[in-house]
Point group: C2
Chain length 149, copies 2
DNA sequence: CTATGTGCAAATCCTTTGCAATCCA
DNA sequence: TGGATTGCAAAGGATTTGCACATAG
């Protein structure tokens, strides 16, 4: 984890940004909550435990900054707010996908890519230069199925 | 198109809802703008041309109703608002995907599914019962590439 | 020391809701 | 007729912004 903090610190410096105490704590909270896909408000609440005088606006501004620097990725899983995750490609290979349980609202990560076929159609037939993609699969998870939902 | 209106009318009646003039006009606006992925406000502006005294709240309520009845689908393409499209499965087979050009913000539809491999992994390995999915691919479209973006 | 970052409150944007009037089955 | 639907305005929730003060490099 320290390695990631150092790495982010370098990305910030490269962009003429400062690594402030608030930014470092927000970063650590994101790291400590790896697969939780926190919303801005959830990040804020977690950070506030460590730094009670932080402002929500700082959290939004920092998340925006991290997005610009490709440190994190954001997406809307259908609940009307952005949720953030580390865009550490080394973690799972190039991409991973998300399953959303419509019963318990859990977000499950799928550590596979498997979009080669569609990507090559998009690239060659549509002449579209792919930067990124979001695949969200909605349904009912194993546990909720077991409960007969 | 008349056929679709009749079909929606039946879905409404089946749910004890009325086919009011406002609902019919909203439906027609959605149909006439098939692949445009209108936002609620865009629907509102188009409907207002035909029915100047319509309220924005009615548009939101009608879109919500159409969502419940699976007449339309909604998704956030990354611009912080919901955009709607017909969920007419007969139009393109089971599913289609969306390409978003980060330069001109155009939404291009891809009329292929091609997610069988990942769907079977999700279904069998993750024991997840799939209801729906959203695949959004971000990148630069053919035209913007040609302009050297 | 100086530009950048921050907290706070106000503002903004999208969406929802309460209520009285209106409309369709 | 009577419950569903609607317009309007106000409320709500998420996010952004203006500004004076604080802080990193």
């Amino acid at each position: 984890m320290q390695k990631i903090v150092t790495n982010v610190s370098e990305k910030l410096k490269a962009g003429e940004y400062k690594l402030t105490s608030r930014r470092e704590i927000i970063l650590r909270v994101l790291l400590e909550n790896g697969e939780k896909h926190l919303s801005a408000e959830e990040v804020y609440n977690l950070v506030k435990v460590k730094v009670p005088d932080i402002g929500l606006a700082t959290v939004y501004r920092t998340l925006e900054l991290f997005l610009d620097l490709d440190i994190i990725r954001a997406m809307d899983f259908g609940d009307g707010r952005k949720r953030y995750e580390f865009s550490d490609e080394s973690r799972h290979g190039h991409y991973h996908h998300h399953l959303i349980c419509e019963e318990c609202h859990r977000i499950i990560e799928v550590n596979e890519d498997l979009l080669d076929e569609i990507e090559s159609i998009v690239t060659y037939d549509y002449q579209f230069s792919i930067i990124n993609h979001h695949l969200i699969i909605f349904g009912i998870c194993k546990d909720c199925m077991a409960k007969g939902k």
